[in-house]
Symmetry: C2
Subunit: 99 residues, 2 copies
């Protein structure tokens, strides 16, 4: 039996990571505070999940200043896009197998 | 916008927990060692996820002796069955929203 669970991406299991990726996949760059607001989570929580996704090279971080304020933006990478798509396919397969 | 991420069950996010539930939902009781073999994970790993699911009252544990050997069996509860179904529905909605 083919096992769709094996295709699930450990780095994308957490709900917050799925949400981050779903925002980044449809936006060309997204800012830390905006992301925090969309996800409605704390700085620390968001930062730790961002770090994990950065470690996987699923997103890139760019820091700049906008009107003298620090501005941190995240962009999904091609690797991230592929991994997210694969993970969604695996989730779909898991759901289908159960229903 | 309705947010399907909010319906994801934190206690069922992990791949191993999804797999445990998918086995229990289709079997009337499943033994520890058999589960370990199906999932191909270590004792400790399985035990910790089982404990988490037991804490949520998603499964019950029964211990007995079979031919003088200790035998530990797990059964999904109605609460677990409902939660698993709800989580799968949420996953389905997440996938649909992305595609």
């Amino acid at each position: 039996m083919k096992n769709p669970f094996e295709n699930l991406d450990k780095a994308l299991e957490h709900r917050v990571r799925l949400q981050i990726m779903s925002v980044l996949v449809t936006h060309d760059g997204f800012e830390f505070n905006a992301l925090k607001e969309v996800l409605n989570i704390t700085d620390g929580n968001l930062a730790s999940h961002i770090k994990a996704l950065e470690r996987e090279k699923y997103l890139t971080v760019s820091k700049s200043f906008v009107e003298k304020k620090p501005n941190t933006k995240y962009k999904i990478t091609e690797r991230g896009r592929t991994a997210f798509k694969k993970h969604l396919d695996a989730l779909e397969a898991v759901v289908k197998q159960q229903k």
